[in-house]
Symmetry: C2
Subunit: 196 residues, 2 copies
DNA sequence: AGCGTATATGAACAATTGTTCAGTTCAAGA
DNA sequence: TCTTGAACTGAACAATTGTTCATATACGCT
């Protein structure tokens, strides 16, 4: 049997990416087989290769899409005003992009280790661009005296890791509403950066 | 060839655990094969089974040892005095245990997902014990008005994830000395919890 | 109605996986 | 010196891995 009714490339393609995203997020790249992904999609393993040249590309494309999305959203964000307002805007945008949409389905950056050196390098560059934006905010705040951040690079890394930390514990079916979590992180980051 | 001079169980045993620890930390459980571990130890794969019944047990024993160590250290820590002093003591103990010793070689708790349900449950119980100690500190601080933490469970999860976040970016050969990083985290967590 | 092609099957592949085990080696005790 | 047994090898195993490909199907087009 092949080509069931209503089953086209436009349907299966996204299904493959969604399944891979969910499984990579949950079990990690090495812990997921192509057959698991195929089974999730409702297809045989061989069919996946109509949508990706190989497993590595599947991971890379998903991570690239993620990073591109993050940078894009950030560009659309209004990062003007006083440092406190800027950092709040950054935190909310970052949080919403990572947790919003497909709730909590987001391949952790830990999986970067599974990339080819060449692929890794390309993503690493995009990440630097993203973090550079945060660093600029922190630097401005430090200069104006609003923030206590003598080492802006260190503070940037820490803030990013704080924000991504939510993926480690948040469960969509948990007790605390996502909006409350977002507000909490806004408060935490603002205070963590604040001058004493 | 077998049994080289000076090569005993007392030597190889720890070597196996060390290699597994390092590799699991770096590549994740699923991304490491028994043959890789064996090669790191300088032994054939079959020999590993003199020291562990199987791969799953190897991971579980390491994680159990880790959790046990963390709880032990915490019990030895003086958690008296005002909340600010208590939280500082907690942060320093937590940080030193996770980052000290074998610098940054620490299996991330993400790897818990690779455990058998039974094994997972057992570790989860220990983790609750550990986090309960932090929650008590936060609760006391909230009650005294020193901390802004209306939801102590949420704050606990967030603080833990903040602290563990250091594993995501810290490199032993990096620019910032470990002691400075520790001090930075002490400051960040204290401020993040502080009443406004 | 029938052709062409996008979409999928399912079997096969070489490599690698965790694990077992009969056999080998060598240090220490008798 | 000889024996014993702990420590290890190396080959083997069944299962699973990523990937390929000849084949089959059924939809859209004419």
């Amino acid at each position: 049997m092949a080509r069931k009714t209503g089953s086209h490339s436009d349907i299966t393609g996204p299904k493959v990416r969604d399944a891979a995203m969910r499984l990579f997020t949950e079990h990690g790249y090495a812990g997921v087989s192509m057959r698991q992904i195929a089974s999730e999609v409702g297809v045989q393993a061989g069919a996946l290769y109509l949508y990706t040249p190989n497993k590595q590309s599947l991971l890379f494309d998903l991570l690239l899409e993620q990073m591109r999305g993050a940078v894009e959203r950030l560009k659309e964000t209004d990062l003007s005003g006083p440092p406190e307002k800027q950092i709040e805007a950054f935190v909310r945008t970052h949080f919403q992009f990572h947790m919003g949409g497909r709730q909590g389905i987001f391949i952790p950056y830990t999986e970067l280790r599974n990339l080819t050196p060449a692929n890794y390098k390309r993503l690493e560059e995009m990440r630097r661009i993203y973090e550079r934006e945060l660093e600029k905010i922190i630097q401005a705040g430090a200069q104006s005296g609003a923030f206590d951040a003598p080492d802006s690079k260190l503070s940037t890394l820490v803030v990013i890791s704080i924000l991504n930390g939510v993926l480690a514990w948040y469960r969509p079916d948990g007790r605390v509403p996502l909006q409350d979590v977002e507000d909490h992180y806004v408060s935490v980051v603002k205070k963590a950066l604040s001058a004493t």
